[in-house]
């Protein structure tokens, strides 16, 4: 039996994010007070300090640039043993300076990447109901 990867458990705040991901749509939380995007959504808006930010998940382009990466050759979580080695990329999303997101690069570990390389959001389907945001090189 294959051990399954950790499955995200949506909560009241994150449910729209995971519902969109299941449809292969990337959304990021936007503060209703100041309009700034934040990931993950916090209790208090990290930009304007509002304690009532009423974050709304809004569609983003999924485009971004690689700021760093690592190749994972040893998994500390269950369900990844068949996947190693795999590449994780630290991506700055195009929508806002400093808006960073980490995900797998689905092009494989042999894809020669450089800082600044353009990527676009992609999705890994864990089950019919659950998809995890990832990236592909936008070449």
């Amino acid at each position: 039996m294959t051990t399954t990867r950790p499955v995200p458990v949506p909560d009241e705040q994150s449910a729209p994010f995971w519902a969109a991901a299941a449809e292969h749509v990337l959304k990021v939380a936007r503060c209703a007070r100041c309009g700034t995007l934040g990931l993950p959504p916090d209790v208090v808006c990290p930009h304007c300090g509002s304690t009532d930010p009423e974050f709304e998940f809004t569609c983003v382009s999924g485009h971004g640039a690689i700021r760093s990466w690592t190749i994972v050759r040893q998994a500390f979580l269950p369900g990844f043993d068949d996947d190693v080695p795999f590449m994780l990329v630290d991506v700055e999303l195009a929508e806002q300076p400093g808006l960073r997101m980490i995900g797998r690069l689905l092009d494989g570990v042999e894809a020669g990447v450089r800082v600044g390389d353009a990527v676009v959001a992609a999705f890994e389907d864990l089950s019919p109901e659950v998809a995890v945001p990832a990236f592909r090189l936008a070449r």
Binding site: R5, P40, S68, Q74, G98, I102, P133
Partner: protein
């Protein structure tokens, strides 16, 4: 408002004990801690009955999500005081990051305020059975839902991203990190209680190790151990009557809050900018400038921290640490170098979470380093964790 610590040099370390550092101690962590605490109190020329303050941090720094048991896998100050039969006036645990400097700060402030006269600071580290960072998580809830489903998890991934970001931005090569690790192991090999005693690491062995989370290899990571250290703090005034030369606390700083990030996401700019801001507060607090320090002991739980601390403390320009190290800048045996790992650090002792840095400052500044004694050692800095996340304490040989 001055940034200078009002109680600068008014509190001192007056004694210590360090257990053997082993992969497995072969006995309960609590028993090892009680023995080490008694040794430290005796070393300071005191009795248990005189110790009226206990401070520590009891975090087990594993990502394994284990439940912990006081006295077995961790040792809190309450547990220790109880099992020593002490009756403290003040007991506190530090739950921030930079656990050892944070604990020292609690102890220093307790002595300076009169909340306690003699404070025992301890740190007890345990190497649990099983994979240290292995975690059986099946469901990713809360903050982990944003990273664990993607496979971003644990401290190696955490450090690999800013380390690689550094390599790319500054044109550094991972092969250059051998200078850090070989230096730490060289110094650790000279320390009798170190796990790596008599076991230096060659450059060839470092370079032959496969990467685990590129560009990190196993030798870039400190090894999990069982080990305990304890220090006794009291006022500079009371220290005059005790057997050893006191080492004074000149000042301290901890990292300020950073902007919220994904769990364990440490972009390089956060580290370098947050670290530089922390260093400025540190020098102001101690009333010194970076150039005054002759014994900076930087944290090295992961080797890239050495580069980051060298730059955050201003010991070399930003982006230059890899060349500074490659050119012999941290060789503790070379005149004119900065001995930032003379105490062996975590890479040369084992995962003692800031203890080797503090202990080296104490031993050298109190002239108790034996055949490792360095002639010029008047002002030390003991660092812990990442420059943007942890903290540091400035120690002085003179009040």
């Amino acid at each position: 408002m001055s940034g200078r610590f009002a109680a600068s040099n008014q509190v001192a370390i007056v004694g210590y004990a360090q257990s053997q550092i082993r992969r497995t101690a072969g006995r309960a962590l609590g028993a090892l801690t009680v023995d080490t605490a008694r040794d430290a109190i005796r070393d300071a020329g005191l009795t248990v009955g005189q110790i009226d303050g206990f401070v520590s941090s009891s975090l087990l720094p594993s990502a394994g999500g284990r439940s912990v048991e006081d006295g077995v896998s961790i040792v809190s100050s309450n547990w220790l005081a109880q099992h020593l039969g002490a009756v403290p006036r003040y007991t506190a645990g530090f739950d921030g990051i930079g656990q050892l400097p944070g604990s020292v700060v609690l102890g220093v402030n307790a002595v300076a305020s009169g909340a306690a006269d003699y404070v025992l600071v301890h740190r007890a580290l345990h190497n649990p059975k099983g994979r240290y960072h292995g975690n059986p998580m099946r469901e990713a809830r809360g903050a982990q839902q944003w990273v664990a489903p993607q496979g971003f998890f644990g401290p190696l991934a955490m450090i690999a991203l800013p380390y690689n970001e550094y390599l790319q931005r500054f044109g550094a090569r991972r092969e250059s990190m051998q200078g850090v690790v070989v230096e730490a192991r060289k110094n650790g090999a000279r320390i009798p209680w170190s796990f790596w005693h008599d076991r230096p690491l060659s450059t060839a062995d470092y370079l032959a190790a496969p990467t685990l989370f590129d560009p990190v290899c196993r030798y870039d990571c400190d090894i999990p151990v069982d080990g305990v250290a304890a220090f006794v703090l009291t006022s500079a005034e009371r220290a005059k009557d005790l057997p050893h030369r006191p080492v004074y606390v000149a000042g301290y700083a901890s990292a300020a809050a950073n902007r919220p990030r994904l769990p364990m996401h440490w972009p390089l700019d956060d580290i370098l900018e947050g670290g530089a801001a922390m260093a400025r507060r540190l020098w102001d607090h101690a009333g010194i400038v970076a150039e005054d320090v002759d014994l900076p002991q930087v944290y090295d739980g992961f080797s890239p921290f050495v580069w980051f601390w060298l730059e955050a403390l201003g010991l070399c320009p930003v982006g230059e640490a890899h060349r500074f190290v490659a050119n012999g800048g941290i060789d503790s045996d070379r005149d004119g170098s900065i001995p930032v790992l003379s105490g062996g650090g975590a890479l040369g002792n084992g995962r003692m979470h800031g203890v080797p840095q503090m202990l080296e400052c104490y031993l050298q500044l109190s002239q108790r380093a034996g055949d490792r004694q360095r002639a010029a050692a008047r002002l030390g800095v003991a660092c812990h964790s990442s420059p943007h996340f942890g903290g540091a304490v400035v120690y002085s040989a003179e009040p």
